[in-house]
């Protein structure tokens, strides 16, 4: 276990190092991309450019600049934004992370519950009209883009029906969990629903296929021959084995979403999360912030993968000794 954890940790470090180098190179070594020009503004004269270059340390050798940036980011923790001078990167991320986590964790619980329920129900009712109906709902869920669905939800809850049915819906924004748990949940309810619709559809379709395959396996026939109830066969045997691939997919999706992939939902519902932060930084080519958020995202993806590996070994005994 210790060896496993150490190996995991090392590979995580390596991945994060590689990503940081890559991000750094994309913004500083790509021909035609000059951060100084962006910072100095349009049509800046050469003198201003040179001054900006010097002030931001852009005239020093590339490896030194990389190391300096990393030192500020990780050791001194005082890396500052290029755009809003004085605004530090790390506090921004620390502030944005709980928003994203709140959004993604809630949505994940929702989509796993709904996806497993829909997928299992469809698989057991194969051959009836219910199965294609559930799968149709799943496809609809998958094909609704979050930005569109979010806007429609906003339109209905904030405008059209705000006076009647949805008068209890608060305006878009975020309230911290520690400030007011009730308001926190209320503010996040529709973002959760919007984000989970897509994933619930995907997971339901995937799980249905897995369960249908499992129900045709020999071990299910053995379970029937043992005289077990259909319910027990479904839950303890078929579903239990079908969850293995679902869990590994879930780890990847969850990591990516926490890392900022929930951007569209965050923007639509005005949630100041990591996705929004990255998005704004990208628009301004604010490299320090980009570097911070990208490393943060990589950290979560790697962490989620490590957790999935551990969970996988718990779920599937065959993977334990491999």
């Amino acid at each position: 276990m210790l060896y496993f954890a150490a190996r995991r940790f090392l590979s995580a470090l390596l991945v994060m190092f590689a990503i940081s180098v890559l991000v750094f190179l994309i913004f500083f070594a790509t021909p035609g991309v000059d951060p100084a020009a962006r910072i100095a503004g349009r049509n800046a004269d050469p003198a201003t450019l040179a001054q900006v270059r010097h002030a931001f340390g852009l005239d020093r050798p590339m490896p030194v600049r990389y190391l300096l940036m990393m030192k500020h980011l990780l050791v001194d923790r005082d890396l500052e934004s290029f755009v809003n001078r004085g605004a530090r990167v790390i506090p921004q991320i620390v502030q944005a992370a709980p928003v994203t986590l709140s959004l993604v964790v809630g949505a994940a619980i929702l989509w796993m519950a709904v996806g497993i329920l829909m997928g299992t129900a469809a698989a057991t009712m194969r051959g009836t009209a219910v199965d294609p109906l559930i799968m149709l709902v799943g496809v609809v869920g998958v094909s609704l883009p979050a930005y569109w669905l979010g806007e429609v939800v906003n339109l209905i809850t904030q405008k059209q029906l705000h006076g009647t049915v949805f008068s209890w819906v608060p305006p878009p924004g975020y309230v911290g969990l520690s400030q007011n748990p009730g308001e926190w949940a209320l503010h996040l309810l529709f973002p959760w629903l919007t984000l989970s619709v897509l994933y619930a559809g995907i997971y339901a379709r995937l799980l249905r296929g897995e369960v249908v395959t499992a129900l045709n396996e020999d071990y299910v026939r053995t379970a029937r021959a043992k005289g077990l109830s259909e319910r027990r066969i479904l839950v303890r045997h078929a579903l239990r084995c079908s969850l293995i691939p679902i869990v590994s997919l879930f780890g990847l999706d969850f990591g990516a979403l926490v890392g900022g992939a929930a951007l569209l939902t965050e923007v639509v519902f005005g949630l100041p999360g990591i996705g929004k932060l990255t998005f704004d930084a990208l628009q301004n080519l604010d490299l320090p912030v980009i570097m911070g958020t990208v490393l943060y995202a990589a950290f979560f993806v790697v962490l989620a993968n490590a957790l999935v590996d551990i969970l996988y070994a718990r779920l599937d005994p065959r993977a334990r000794h491999a």
Partner: protein
Amino acid sequence: MPDQPLLDVTDLRVSFRTRRGRVTAVDGLSFSVAPGEVLGVVGESGSGKSVSMLAVLRLLTNPNVTVSGEVLFRGRDLLSLPDKQMRAIRGREIAMVFQDPMTALTPVYTVGWQIAEQIRAHEPVSRKEAHARAVELLSDVGIPDAASRVNAYPHEFSGGMRQRAVIAMALACSPALLIADEPTTALDVTIQAQILDLMRELNARGSAVVLITHDMGVVSEIADRVLVMYGGRVAEEGPRQAVFHVPRHPYTWGLLDSVPRVGGTRLRRLPTIAGVPVSPDSLPEGCAFAPRCRLRHERCDERPELSAAPGTPAHRDACRLPADDRTSLRLTARAAATGAAAAEHAGRASKAERADKADVEREAAP
């Protein structure tokens, strides 16, 4: 009533709805199993052996399957029993062992857990008690160090050990009837013998056994009675001695003649049954075996009924040949079969000498 059969199947029919229309896999099968008896069910692949046994236990869950007939187990019709009562019979009174032990166990639970699950499904015992019984059962079926192996996962067992574990599970509630669907087919020969010993031991403890196989050698070792199936129907049935020594149906002749013999004169080439097994979607109106039979005649277009051999009412067969002259007819058929095989052999010999050599080596091997 001591003579009442344990399992009495009458006119069992199983058909599948397919794209090409109805396909009949089991066509009016009737047989019975007495308490404590070993019934060997033999036939080629696709003769309806497995399907009929799955139908008996109502394990054919495909919605396209139709099962009809009567399956009396201890006087109750299994086909019309409510699901809940059927579940109480499955695993407790009738247990089933399947062909492939590699996939028969759920991969994510320990072997002991799965045996305990079976016990707890039928008896109100504690988890601990069930676990202890699982250890006992595993050691009964010859798993060494059962107390620690009980916590192993199926993938940590070899094929033979898995089959033992499956059998241990089947024995968990001391069933009155064990249906074993080719329990040895997927295993090594040495393991096969051990599994058969296990079946025999179980039978000695009082359980009746239905052993499905296509291995005539296995049947001749263990069965009290033999049921030969072809095309979803009974071709011949009777006590083992009678079926093996005075077989009456041409299909049984073919099966017996195609088993290599250890003693006696060595044949140049093993006779086979000409043609391919009848497909369930094109069952002939008359005798199912007629298209492959060397002795067929006009009356074979009419479906033959099971009828007893003269003098031995327990030995019955479904064939249109004259009832009293089967032994000499068999010799004629065999001569024709070996003649055909030899002619085929001679024709091929000149062309493919290497194949011939391989044959000789194979024949010399045992």
